[in-house]
């Protein structure tokens, strides 16, 4: 079985580490100070994040952008929410008007949800959002589903009787090129929502038509506030690894090219942001009308694994 080349490609991120180490080395003599930078304000924009899965109702979260250096506190964060939007999704035949709901799993806890149309594999879905008399549109497809063959747990150090390890998924990439994937996981009893590893998207450029083995790290739920300075808490799950005794659900999604490009640009920005030697990556969008964000379809395949030694 061919291993998924993405494994080592991911390790290429060590490049950044290499730069980092170099710099530690030369920063013995360096100095750092706070400065004020005088930047223009960005154009005000609506941010739309929405998705539809096979078997699920569409959902959309709508927010606003904010100037980079404007502090955001508990008061001002409310001004970033858009709670009066008119949101509809159509499949060309039926129309679903999404309504604003409260979801306490999210921060901020507001989401527009549908109740008429459930996603189907192979279909195209059109989104229309109206905010303050301005219209924003987009469309996406739910591509054909690619199933997983199996999921396995492998301890980090098999010799040392390690209880920590990673999940490995196995699947066969279809012969035709152009398959794109996004991966999530959810540990039952621990995660309230599906979370994704730091690098969650891949395409089949290197693996077309092959049997693939792919490593999945534990993801972090962004809706839970974490204090980076807090001491390690053994009762909480580790940051990257899975633990024996857990039950994990893998959500393996096929997505289309535009949807992939969006998340790829997000992840590239995450890894290059803060690196002064990388050229900045702009996040793309597939929303028409001047809004930022994404409207994407997922063909979901779920698989559950009970992690035992």
């Amino acid at each position: 079985m061919k291993r998924f080349q993405n494994i080592n490609i991911k390790k290429l991120k060590n490049f950044n580490l290499f730069l980092f180490i170099f710099f530690i080395f030369f920063f013995i003599a360096s100095c750092e100070k706070d400065i004020t930078v005088d930047l223009p304000r960005p154009e005000k924009a609506i941010v739309i994040e929405g998705a539809i899965e096979n078997g699920g109702y569409p959902w959309v979260i709508i927010t606003r952008n904010t100037p980079y250096f404007e502090p955001v506190d508990a008061q001002t964060v409310i001004s970033l929410l858009v709670l009066n939007a008119y949101v509809i999704v159509t499949d060309g035949h039926d129309t679903d008007k999404l309504t604003l709901q409260v979801d306490t799993n999210l921060v901020p806890p507001f989401i527009y949800k549908g109740s008429q149309i459930k996603g189907e594999v192979g279909k195209t879905y059109y989104l229309k959002v109206i905010v303050d008399a301005k219209e924003y549109t987009s469309y996406t497809t739910i591509p054909n589903l690619v199933p997983l063959d199996s999921v396995k747990f492998k301890p980090r150090n098999p010799q040392e009787n390690d209880t920590l390890g990673y999940l490995w998924i196995y699947f066969r990439d279809p012969d035709s090129i152009g398959n794109n994937y996004r991966i999530f996981s959810k540990t039952l009893g621990k995660d309230s929502v599906f979370v994704h590893p730091f690098s969650s998207v891949a395409n089949d450029m290197l693996i077309n038509g092959r049997n693939v083995e792919y490593l999945v790290y534990r993801g972090r739920n962004p809706n839970i506030m974490t204090d980076p300075n807090a001491p390690p808490d053994p009762s909480k799950p580790p940051r990257w690894a899975f633990v024996t005794g857990e039950t994990a659900v893998i959500k393996f999604c096929s997505i289309n090219k535009t949807h992939f490009n969006f998340w790829k640009s997000v992840e590239q920005q995450m890894s290059s942001d803060g690196n002064p030697f990388a050229s900045p990556t702009s996040v793309v969008t597939n929303i028409e009308g001047g809004a930022l964000g994404i409207w994407g379809g997922y063909a979901v395949f779920l698989d559950t694994i009970q992690i035992i030694k």
């Binding site: 750092e32 980079y68 090129i177």
Partner: protein
């Protein structure tokens, strides 16, 4: 070679026409006789490059070429010949010319440093009388007396102090010439291309000043014998080696030590020179590391670099001479985390070898045949638990050229020649394994190319007022197999692969590059010069980051990557004052550059794996214009110069910055350098360097928004923000402790950044809160690299 002549067919006509045209212009009469020979330094036998031979009666003369040769053809008669070279005693000879004369001149060093050089008949108005523009020759002794960063004398950093040349950044030896990128500089060490002239982040260049004889910078009006780059040529010549006696010289500095040995293998006939330099930051840093790091847990972490140079020359006769020179340098970085869970090993560096044969066909026709090997490699090896991987990239050239100089009369100096290079590029190769399993990372992709050139150029005096350097360069470039071309559909997915056989021509480019410079002498003290040049460049440096890193990739022109092309117009006014003691000039230039490359937004180095590297790029054009002022005091106890550049450099890429024009990352509105050296007495001399430059252009985020519960940055227009201006003062004192025939000892005390200016190196942002929880307050932080840094170096010679 023959292949090139074949394919150059249609250009041949133009060249032949030009050749005939040139020959017609050269009126040779039978009564002319030739004075020719070599000029060398008496005590060492080193040949002198660019020494002047003036025929007093005609106020005309010649300059020695790269190999110290000169030739002057004159009518029968009596002449006074004055040979001069800065820092050397002038020599005057009277010659009764009634037959061809072979004349080898040995020059003696000027010992009285503090006294003003007597400028009786010395032809020091070369800057006025020559037709070349934007050409600067640096004296290595002057470079050595300037303040040195951490005690390391660096020729490339001195070049940055000239107008029109900009530093790539704090402590960086990389440079930008007239708005051109760092890959547009042709850096030659004894005619071999050095692809990456920088050690660690560019803080030091690979050139050990001890072994350098001559540095010549051409930033505009590039003559036809140079090509392959758009912006500049830095031509560095290594010392030949003393063919009179054995000497050892060296130095002990704060971060490195150097040693060079030279001497005759056979007196007056054969000589060698060997030099080595190594840094010991890795050793020096040990005491400052904690007990934990010093013990075996962190052992194996360190950084050092070294440079080795060797040169050998053999003089068979006055007609034949052989030079063999070599350079090998490596940077070595290794890191081991505690407990050995993570190991990194990164070596990189250059290797060059050049073999040259000088042959004199006649006293008017000089030939140099050269074979060159040039190689740059970068490797990155990492190991983390059971996972190991290795990445490498590089470029290797086999290069040969034959160059002729023909000096039929005193009015003409004709250069012509051919050049062929075989390039091998490795944009990136990866091998990896987990445990014992080798991973399939695709084949190592190598790209092959042929590059050829033929050129002719003539430097001739049309009249007493007008001098012209005209030249044509015909170039050809072929990207050849073996090569796999992946064919893409509209979505960028590979749908097919075309395989090209070994040696198969995949894409070729043929071009003619005209070069023209013209001088109009207003009088003996002032002149106006014009130049027009067109250059093609077939190799490209793809850089993902804003500083030049060893990870930058060299790639050839392919069917997707078109050759870079530049057109440059320049005009200058040159004026000398006070018996040529003061030189001044004003030059203005306008340059356009086509087919510039950059990575597409969001590209990463791994995109090239299992794919054609050229799919990662996007193409655009650039323009630069500027005004350069230069004032130089060349003789006296106090010498130095002031260079100021006012310039603007822009880029226009359809796929970057929404297709809007933006400032290049090295766009610098103002750039000022002031350099002064004062010789107090025989023992003490002092130098100071002040630089000021407009801050670097930067792309900063202006907005934020939430996606997936995480903040996303919205960037402003490309390079729309400017960091604070850069300025810095360095001073140095040189103390000659002892100087006898047998032993010389001297000290250099340097202070870098005297007033400890915190120049911005980069800016980053920090936010301890989270946007969606409403506790976010991002702060901008500016990092500066070097505060005040004193250093001391001890140099010796025996």
């Amino acid at each position: 070679m023959f292949l090139i002549f074949d394919t150059l067919n249609k250009y041949n006509y133009i060249l032949v026409f030009f050749l005939i045209f040139t020959f017609l212009f050269i009126k040779t009469s039978a009564q002319k006789y030739t004075i020719s020979g070599y000029i060398k330094e008496k005590s060492t036998g080193e040949i002198l490059i660019g020494a002047n031979v003036l025929v007093k009666e005609l106020s005309k003369g010649a300059t020695t070429n790269k190999y110290g040769f000169f030739s002057i053809s004159l009518d029968k008669g009596n002449y006074t010949l004055i040979s001069s070279f800065i820092g050397y005693k002038e020599q005057v000879q009277t010659i009764n010319l009634s037959k061809n004369i072979s004349l080898n001149i040995a020059m003696e060093e000027q010992t009285l440093l503090t006294q003003e050089v007597v400028v009786s008949g010395e032809r020091s108005d070369k800057n006025i009388q020559g037709a070349e523009m934007g050409t600067v020759k640096l004296q290595i002794e002057k470079i050595k007396s300037l303040p040195a960063f951490l005690g390391e004398v660096d020729v490339l950093k001195t070049i940055q102090l000239l107008p029109g040349v900009q530093s790539a950044g704090e402590g960086n030896s990389g440079f930008y010439v007239r708005g051109g990128g760092p890959d547009q500089n042709l850096i030659l060490l004894d005619e071999a291309t050095v692809y990456n002239a920088a050690h660690l982040f560019g803080f030091f260049s690979v050139f050990n000043a001890d072994i350098i004889k001559d540095v010549n910078l051409i930033k505009g009006g590039m003559p036809a014998n140079f090509g392959g780059r758009l912006s500049s040529v830095v031509d560095i010549t290594m010392k030949d080696g003393n063919n009179q006696s054995f000497h050892t010289e060296g130095g002990i500095g704060l971060i490195s030590s150097r040693i060079a040995v030279q001497g005759p293998l056979k007196k007056d006939t054969a000589a060698f020179i060997l030099s080595a330099r190594r840094t010991y930051i890795d050793i020096l840093i040990q005491p400052f590391m904690g007990e934990f790091e010093r013990t075996r847990k962190m052992k194996g972490t360190g950084y050092y670099f070294y440079d080795l140079n060797a040169k050998f020359n053999y003089r068979f006769s006055d007609k034949n001479r052989l030079y063999v020179s070599a350079y090998y340098g490596r940077d070595m970085f290794s890191f081991r985390s505690p407990k050995n869970t993570f190991k990194v090993y990164i070596p990189w560096g250059n290797a060059t070898t050049s073999v040259r044969w000088n042959h004199l066909f006649s006293d008017k026709m000089f030939m140099n045949a050269t074979a060159i090997f040039s190689d740059y490699q970068f490797e990155f090896e990492a190991e983390q638990s059971s996972f190991a991987f290795k990445l490498f990239s590089g470029i290797r050239d086999y290069n040969t050229h034959i160059d002729f100089s023909w000096m039929p009369t005193i009015r003409h100096n004709v250069l012509f020649g051919v050049n062929y290079t075989f390039h091998t590029f490795i944009p990136s190769g990866v091998s990896a394994r987990i445990g014992e399993t080798e991973l399939n990372t695709g084949d190592i992709v190598k790209l092959y190319a042929n590059e050829g050139a033929v050129y002719i150029s003539d430097d001739f005096d049309l009249s007493d007022k007008i001098k012209i350097v005209g030249g044509l360069r015909g170039t050809i470039f072929q990207h050849i197999g073996p090569f796999n071309r992946f064919i893409k559909d509209d979505f960028g997915n590979t749908v097919d692969t075309i395989f090209y056989k070994r040696g198969k021509n995949i894409q070729s480019y043929k071009n003619i590059e005209p070069r023209l410079s013209l001088r109009y002498a207003i009088n003996m003290k002032s002149s106006v010069k014009l130049s027009f040049t067109q250059n093609y460049q077939y190799v490209h440096l793809a850089s993902l980051s804003s500083v030049s890193l060893p990870t930058d990739l060299w790639i050839p022109s392919t069917s997707l990557i078109k050759p870079q092309f530049a057109t440059q117009y320049a005009i200058g006014y040159f004026r000398n004052f006070y018996d040529n003691k003061w030189e001044t000039s004003v030059e203005a230039y306008y340059k356009t550059m086509k087919n510039q490359i950059d990575y597409k937004e969001g590209s990463t180095p791994e995109d090239g794996l299992n794919d054609n590297v050229d799919y990662s790029f996007t193409f655009g054009k650039g323009a630069s214009y500027g005004l350069e002022l230069f004032v130089k005091k060349r003789v006296g106890a106090t010498t130095g110069w002031i260079g100021y550049t006012l310039s603007k450099t822009t880029r226009l890429f359809p796929e970057i910055n929404n297709g809007l024009e933006y400032p290049a990352k090295y766009d610098r509105r103002h750039d000022l350098s002031i350099i002064a050296t004062h010789e107090l007495n025989k023992k003490w001399s002092f130098s100071a360097v002040f630089v000021y430059a407009t801050g670097n252009a930067l792309t900063l985020p202006i907005g934020r928004y939430l996606i997936d519960g995480r903040p996303i940055s919205q960037y402003a227009e490309r390079n729309s923000y400017r960091m604070a201006p850069y300025h810095r003062l360095d001073i140095s004192a040189n103390y000659l402790q002892k100087k006898t025939e047998k032993f010389e000892s001297s000290w250099n005390f340097s202070i870098y950044n005297v007033y400890s200016r915190l120049n911005p190196y980069f800016i980053y942002f920090e936010d301890e809160g989270d946007l969606q929880f409403g506790n976010s307050n991002p702060k901008a932080k500016q990092v500066s690299l070097f505060p005040i840094l004193p250093s001391v170096t001890w140099n010796f010679k025996f």
